[in-house]
């Protein structure tokens, strides 16, 4: 029972992290039709920059801000300097992102070497919190509560806050309205007098910024090291294939399914854990090729 609850909570927190990474990926794709295979690189680079900033300023929150901001700027630069010039050429854009991810991975290896970096989050985030889940009763009648890492609870909360914030932003604000209109019909949005390139740059900034944010926040929960870029790229791919490319709600749902599946797989049949994830992806493709929340493409 304890294993089950712990696995469930681990699955939820992993889902929160996956959502943070995948929501940026899916947002960028939804509007710009750009499959950004350098998204994992943005995650890892955000983590490294956040680490440097946190180590320099001795403030973990400054590290989070630095990682997020730096990647948001990187995202705008990528959009303005590179992708803007090859709009509509989906394959070419994707090939460019592959090239960028190769160069980025190698340069990061050159700068930060193969070491594993660990963050130092503030003291109140380290340690465990007693959850109101009774495991057993001591002979004197006091309940034994389930301890759980505080940081992972923080991660879960961050995922929820960002998720709700993103939903409000897309559904309730003017820019969000423009983004939704652009997803449906980019040409019409352009024709109605809105500068699509500004909207594109904003969306790329949010998407890349989320990857950077996830890099620091997720890197604190686990660690940052070479290879994490591929890991989170795969997570993003599977999450959006299951949830539906282009849908933020789909990313949340997909992240929940994949996060839980991965943790339960790891806990109950360790060497075949990845197969479970894979089976879910295959099932999603077989029965709903456009993903759970994706719309059928014209």
């Amino acid at each position: 029972m304890k294993l089950f609850i712990l696995t469930f909570l681990n699955g939820l927190t992993l889902a929160a992290l996956y959502f943070l990474v995948a929501s940026g990926f899916t947002l960028v794709f939804g509007l710009m039709r750009n499959v950004n295979l350098a998204h994992g690189s943005l995650y890892l680079l955000g983590g490294y920059i956040g680490y440097e900033a946190a180590a320099f300023s001795n403030n973990w929150f400054l590290g989070v801000a630095a990682g997020t901001l730096a990647m948001a700027i990187a995202g705008v630069l990528l959009q303005v300097l590179v992708f803007r010039w090859m709009e509509g050429q989906e394959l070419r854009q994707t090939l460019v992102t592959i090239g960028i991810s190769i160069v980025a991975a190698d340069l990061m290896l050159a700068v930060w070497s193969g070491n594993t970096y660990q963050f130092n989050p503030p003291a109140w985030l380290i340690g465990t919190t007693q959850l109101p889940i009774v495991l057993a009763h001591k002979p004197d009648g006091t309940a034994v509560l389930l301890p759980y890492p505080t940081y992972r609870l923080f991660l879960l909360a961050a995922g929820l806050v960002i998720g709700v914030g993103l939903w409000l932003f897309i559904n309730k604000t003017r820019i969000g309205m423009m983004i939704r209109a652009g997803v449906d019909d980019r040409g019409m949005l352009d024709a109605s007098g809105i500068n699509v390139h500004v909207v594109f740059a904003i969306v790329f900034a949010i998407g890349a910024g989320l990857a950077g944010f996830a890099g620091v926040v997720g890197g604190t929960a686990l660690s940052i090291a070479p290879g994490e870029d591929v890991r989170y790229l795969l997570a993003s791919l599977v999450v959006v294939i299951v949830g539906g490319l282009g849908s933020v709600t789909g990313a949340a749902l997909g992240a929940l399914i994949i996060g839980l599946a991965e943790q339960f797989g790891l806990a109950y049949f360790p060497t075949y854990g990845i197969v479970l994830t894979f089976v879910i992806m295959v099932a999603a493709l077989a029965f709903r090729p456009q993903g759970l929340m994706g719309r059928a493409r014209v």
Binding site: L91, L95, I98, G99, I102, L233, L237, V238, T271, M281
Partner: protein
């Protein structure tokens, strides 16, 4: 668009035939003479390796160039065939069933081909750019699976001591025999793909690439054509995968890493995906760079240079070196970019 699509691939062929025959003859002579003038290092490490990587990239070119389906799972297919050679045949590390070569090789090739059929069945559920997403997810999942699984794939360490059997009193791993073996496989695959592109099936494939809806409406079974293309590409990649495991002398999850899957794509894109010669051209450049870039630049940053070279080709000449050569030559190329 339709005008260009219907005339571009075949229209230039009739006048180009004499030129291409001359070119092919020169290539055959050079390739046959190569091991007799080159050192063993060049014959094995450069020559054979180029031919193997070129053949794996050729299988991608078949899918991407003629079918419009860019699959990143070709390295995984080659890798699975290699793993099967290690498991069915003789190897050190994990289970080795010790089958004779004439059973182990067909079994490995069949399993590799079947994997690509399964990949195809999944990938054709969606279209266009999603093929990359799905096949990359499959390739990455297989890599992590091979790394985690000890029952079949022997986990992180994989298999070692894999070598071809001595058949007909020849040591097939000696530089010259292995080179000619690789050359035979590469030449057969190359000729096969070239022939296939001119058969009714190949032409239908290219029509499906250009306009699947119209082909569907005319009455062609579009999914069946696509899966058949995956099967042929799987066959080519599997045979090349068998050669690759012999070349490496073993196999581990690193052999099917995302890094390597993307290198196959780089080779095909840099060479050009409009003609089967492209992947081999890309492979020559790639292998030469990999082996000799160390002499000019910091070897540790090899990936940076290869990535920048790839970016340059994608930005400057989307149809690769082949397109560049064609444009520099007398014949003006039709202005069609990547499929």
């Amino acid at each position: 668009m339709t005008e260009a699509a219907t005339t571009s691939p075949t229209a230039s062929a009739p006048e180009a035939i004499p030129m291409s025959i001359v070119g092919h003859l020169i290539a055959v002579v050079l390739l046959l003479a190569f091991p007799f003038v080159a050192t063993d290092f060049f014959t094995f490490q450069i020559g054979a390796y180029t031919l193997i990587m070129g053949t794996i990239s050729l299988s991608l070119m078949l899918l991407a160039g003629y079918g419009g389906m860019v699959s990143l799972a070709q390295m995984s297919v080659a890798g699975l065939a290699g793993y099967m050679i290690a498991i069915f045949g003789t190897s050190a590390g994990g289970v080795a069933l010790g089958w004779p070569w004439f059973l182990a090789i067909p079994a490995a090739v069949i399993i590799g081909t079947l994997l690509n059929v399964v990949v195809g069945l999944l990938a054709i559920r969606t279209e266009g750019i999603f093929t990359i997403v799905i096949t990359l997810a499959i390739a990455t999942a297989l890599y992590y699976f091979a790394q985690q699984n000890y029952d079949i794939f022997n986990g992180h360490s994989g298999f070692s001591g894999v070598a071809p059997a001595h058949v007909l009193w020849v040591d097939w791993r000696a530089p010259k025999p292995f080179y000619f073996l690789s050359l035979a496989v590469a030449a057969l695959s190359y000729a096969g793909v070239l022939y296939l592109s001119r058969t009714p099936f190949g032409l239908a494939m290219q029509a499906v690439r250009d306009n699947p809806r119209r082909m569907e409406a005319i009455g062609f079974n579009v999914p069946a054509h696509r899966i058949a293309a995956y099967a042929v590409a799987g066959l080519i990649a599997s045979v090349a995968g068998v050669l690759l495991v012999w070349f490496d002398g073993g196999i581990s999850p690193g052999s099917i890493s995302v890094d390597r899957a993307i290198k196959v794509l780089i080779i095909a894109v840099v060479g050009g995906m409009r003609h089967p010669a492209g992947p081999f051209l890309g492979a020559i450049l790639f292998v030469l760079l990999q082996n000799f870039a160390i002499d000019f630049v910091n070897p540790e940053r090899f990936n940076t240079y290869i990535g920048l070279a790839f970016l340059l080709v994608v930005l400057v000449s989307p149809d690769g070196l082949l397109g560049l050569i064609r444009r520099l030559g007398a014949a003006p190329a039709s202005g069609k970019s990547l499929p």
